[in-house]
Symmetry: C2
Subunit: 139 residues, 2 copies
């Protein structure tokens, strides 16, 4: 499609879930939170307003699809969405399921401390459930 | 238009900038950061995926317009966008200009400590510059 390359840090911190029309969907390697990261497969874009209008419309639909997937699989109390990029310039959107009992509540997840890496079985179960939920909405 | 009422806490923490087609634009009363909050004028919506697809397309365009306005007036190093809502359930989107020298860098602004309220002259200058920047893009 294009010369899209995932930023090294995103690659190191996540597992691949699937590619949607615009975004590569990643699962953050932190089993404390159901935490997806959507990376528009466009080279050199660092801000939402740096995308085309057409890509932005797709980005927010894929963000909504990721939110619905997390909601249906994990029934969180709240979805948190964030595009920060202070450390990793490649544009990426966090979609995180939050519960009132999670370690960062009601604060943000970013900078909330050490993640808890997935163990193999839990990872496979989580990836499979999220893929099914994303595919189930025709995303 | 409808019975939209701004959440009490958003009202207390901000100043009104202007209404766009979908969102009321607010300026956070924290002069440390150029910090806008966009509140879709829809009653009872708490999540991005709770909006209609049409409203979502407008929301991301208005978010991009707010980002461009902050960029043009303040020349930040990065724009941070976030929809959290862990404390205030009414759907709202933060758009914040960040610099490498700001008090929270590279962490998130949410939960980063006490805000610095605007003094009158600075507030009027800031509101005027942001309104002009938003209007200049036909937002």
């Amino acid at each position: 499609m294009n010369n899209f390359t995932l930023h090294e840090r995103l690659k190191n911190d996540t597992f691949e879930v699937m590619d949607l029309a615009l975004c590569r969907v990643l699962l953050m390697n932190d089993s404390h939170f159901p935490w997806l990261i959507l990376v528009p497969m466009r080279t050199g874009v660092t801000e939402v307003h740096g995308l085309t209008r057409e890509d932005r419309a797709v980005l927010i639909e894929e963000t909504a699809a990721a939110s619905r997937a997390i909601s249906s699989v994990f029934s969180p109390d709240k979805i948190n969405i964030g595009a920060l990029g202070n450390l990793v310039p490649q544009l990426h959107v966090h979609v995180v399921g939050r519960t009132r009992e999670d370690r960062a509540w009601p604060g943000p997840v970013w900078g909330s401390g050490q993640g808890a890496p997935y163990v193999k079985e839990e990872l496979e179960k989580t990836l499979s459930a999220i893929r099914q939920a994303l595919q189930g909405q025709g995303a």
